[in-house]
């Protein structure tokens, strides 16, 4: 075990997979000298050469498209798109091409591609650089969408994503890069499509992903001091979505609350809530609530930005509302 940061964990994953399979290559904006906008690819070009780690111009369409083509041509590219906001420029290649090749051409080939992008806000980067657009992509069949919350999951999931034969959108979070966590050395693989109970509890199930998992865990700790034991389910994977783990938890606690940084309407929480009530209706003791990013473009001013992103206090308040009694 090593105590390393999220950034380091991802870096190790890339390194290990590059060594293991020479078909793996990395390209994107500023991945070489700059070391990646968030420093994840730092040093890789030097060690693996610029045939395997190279820069692309600021042209997300061709970055994503070339990654699809390269995957179809037999490589296993890991393309970096800097942020999910810019993924909108690549959305056509991701959604119309990467997600469709396998099916549209009758199963003749798949697209073993990983596109890495950073999602979320909280660094005062203003509205076009702070979005959480995972619901848009998680909506699309043929894609896989992964959102690790911890260094261990980051490493394990990135390695699995690279080995997977399907197109994976791997969404990291800017405020997680410095977070430290225990990470197993060597061949640590986390399967795609499996959620994990990060904290056990009996009073309510909190379903979260990415940085909001940490927020949920924080809230759970504070709630515990007040005698409320929350169970935290970290989705880890938005598509495929592991509802079994979520449902097992809800059948135990009978109450559920989702926590996401993305906007509420038509979001991840909406999907989770809908599935819970479809499949565990008779286990529910209260309506399912959602805590999400305030439904506005994210502003620059610190106080406004903080108010727009869910924090432990908001989660706690919502939990108490779910558990509220009128009397008796």
């Amino acid at each position: 075990m090593a105590m390393i940061t999220y950034r380091e964990a991802l870096h190790h994953a890339l390194r290990e997979e590059m060594t293991r399979d020479e078909r793996v290559l990395i390209f994107g904006e500023d991945v070489v000298a700059y070391g990646g906008a968030y420093g994840v690819t730092s040093g890789l070009a030097k060690d693996y050469g610029e045939k395997r780690v190279f820069d692309a111009p600021i042209a997300e369409g061709v970055i994503a498209g070339a990654a699809v083509g390269a995957a179809m041509g037999g490589l296993r590219p890991v393309a970096e798109l800097m942020t999910i906001n810019f993924a909108l420029l690549a959305a056509d290649q991701i959604i119309n091409h990467a997600a469709k090749v396998m099916h549209m051409f009758g199963g003749q080939m798949s697209v073993p591609l990983v596109i890495r992008a950073v999602g979320g806000g909280g660094a005062q980067l203003a509205s076009t650089h702070s979005q959480s657009l995972e619901p848009m992509f998680a909506h699309v069949p043929g894609l896989k969408v992964i959102t690790p919350a911890t260094p261990a999951d980051g490493k394990g999931l990135l390695k699995s994503a690279i080995r997977d034969d399907d197109p994976v959108l791997f969404i990291e979070h800017a405020l997680l890069y410095r977070v430290r966590g225990e990470v197993p050395e060597g061949e640590h693989l986390v399967p795609l499509g499996k959620a994990e109970v990060k904290r056990e509890g009996k009073d309510i199930t909190l379903v979260a992903y990415s940085r909001m998992t940490l927020v949920a865990l924080q809230a759970a700790d504070l709630l515990s001091q007040e005698g409320i034991e929350a169970e935290v389910v970290d989705l880890r994977s938005l598509r495929p979505l592991d509802m079994e783990t979520v449902l097992a938890s809800v059948r135990k606690t009978h109450r559920a609350l989702t926590v996401e940084e993305a906007w509420r309407t038509y979001g991840i929480g909406a999907e989770i809530a809908s599935r819970i009530q479809e499949e565990a209706f008779d286990d529910l003791d209260a309506p399912i609530r959602r805590v999400s990013g305030v439904e506005v473009p994210l502003p620059y001013a610190k106080n406004l930005e903080q108010a727009a992103i869910p924090d432990a206090q908001r989660v706690m308040k919502a939990v108490k509302e779910v558990l509220a009694r009128t009397g008796g």
């Binding site: 009978h254 286990d283 529910l284 003791d285 209260a286 509220a324 009128t326 008796g328």
Partner: protein, 403 residues
């Protein structure tokens, strides 16, 4: 003088009643003794009389509403007398959470009243346990019944809550035979509860005897031919016979209570009457002190009141013994369930001509089989047998009944 009309307690275990009909309206003149309302209790519909005269100034509980015993349902006062505090008094709420712990919820008799809000899991547990959610108070938001409320309710009343297996609506029906679901009336609910409890609590045993009714029928015929007073029925004779027997066997005129046996000083015999909605048992008090003729007369009125839903408070006097006669249905014999907290019940079959051996010859006689169900905590087999022996004698030598 301002008089509050309250929901009367008309039965020792009555906790609430429903106003079925107001016989008088606001503004009507009321004389003491007038029947002003009909009230339905768990057992029957009863008439409520006014205890003072005046004007029925205010009706506080409308028809169809259920209130606890003791709650004010109307005000009688003089025409112009000021009635303090009435204006503020809203019609009595169906649910008074402070008053009765398990006050049932409104049934939603009309379209506007909301159904009982309860969480899905609370409903599921209630369904599986055969529990009526209307009996549960909800502590969730908006008064929603949540899992904890249902579990708390079940924990407090294990004896009364029907066991899961005979749940009226099985959560997991093993078969799919089509069915029609019927709601239980209050009366049926009471019967279900009391009879189940009786069987559970009292160790029943049974003694059967066959009685030659030839002489009894002859006496009856003769008395009725006199044309005086009410016609005497077989049941009347049974009541008289039972009363005399109970006088000699006080240990049968008793109850098991709190680890002791209570031997009653009055002999109040209940006569089971089959109504459309269920069985009721109006009681004839002090049968030992009444003649056969008197019994016949009172019984007739009593049964009439029971059938027409007009029983009075006295009719629901607690009984000490019950007779259940199914003779009119061509029944050879049957076994009855003791009416708690009594110690015994007599089940009477039809009078049927049967072959009997008399003096070595086979003759035909009118015979009637009776079965005494007895609570073994109170009564032993020998006592029960001797009781029946005596009872039989009183009927086979019926002059005892008019002596």
């Amino acid at each position: 003088m301002v008089t509050e009309v309250v929901m009367p307690k008309m039965g020792y275990d009555m906790t609430e009643g429903t106003i079925v009909r107001w016989r008088k309206q606001e503004g009507d003149e009321v004389k003491r003794g007038d029947i002003i309302a009909e009230v339905e209790t768990t057992k029957v519909t009863v008439e409520v009389e006014a205890y003072s005269s005046g004007i029925l100034r205010k009706i506080l509980v409308p028809e169809g509403q259920t209130v606890p015993v003791g709650e004010v349902v109307a005000i009688i006062a003089d025409r112009d007398e000021p009635i303090p505090g009435v204006a503020e008094k809203a019609p009595a709420r169906e649910r008074a959470p402070q008053a009765v712990k398990e006050a049932p919820r409104p049934e939603g008799a009309d379209e506007e009243s909301p159904r009982v809000p309860a969480s899905p899991i609370a409903r599921r547990i209630a369904r599986e346990q055969g529990l009526d959610l209307r009996r549960v108070t909800g502590t969730g938001p908006g008064g929603r019944i949540i899992k904890e409320d249902v579990e708390a309710f079940l924990a407090k009343r294990p004896a009364e809550a029907p066991r899961p297996s005979p749940a009226p609506v099985a959560a997991a029906a093993p078969h799919d035979i089509p069915y029609e679901e019927r709601e239980l009336s209050r009366l049926r609910q009471t019967i279900a509860r009391r009879m189940a409890e009786s069987k559970r609590v009292a160790p029943h045993f049974y003694v059967t005897s066959e009685i030659d009714m030839t002489e009894a029928l002859k006496l009856r015929q003769g008395l009725n031919a006199l044309g005086e007073g009410a016609k005497i029925s077989v049941t009347d004779m049974l009541v008289k016979a039972a009363a005399k027997t109970l006088q000699e066997f006080p240990e049968v005129n008793a109850s098991f209570a709190d680890g002791k046996i209570r031997v009653y000083r009055r002999i109040n015999i209940g006569v089971a009457v089959a109504l459309e909605q269920g069985l009721v048992t109006p009681v004839l008090p002090d049968c030992d002190k009444k003649s056969l003729a008197q019994i016949a007369r009172e019984a007739k009125e009593l049964v009439e009141r029971a059938r027409t839903g007009r029983m009075r408070q006295e009719d629901l006097t607690p009984g000490t013994f019950t007779i259940s006669n199914l003779g009119m249905f061509d029944v050879d014999d049957f076994v009855a369930v003791i009416n708690p907290p009594e110690a015994a019940v007599l089940a009477v079959g039809s009078v049927i001509p049967r072959p009997v051996v008399v003096g070595g010859e086979v003759k035909v006689a009118d015979r009637m089989r009776v079965t005494l169900s007895a609570d073994h905590r109170v009564i032993d087999g020998a006592v029960a047998a001797r009781f029946l022996q005596r009872f039989k004698l009183f009927l086979e030598q019926p002059l005892h009944l008019v002596s």
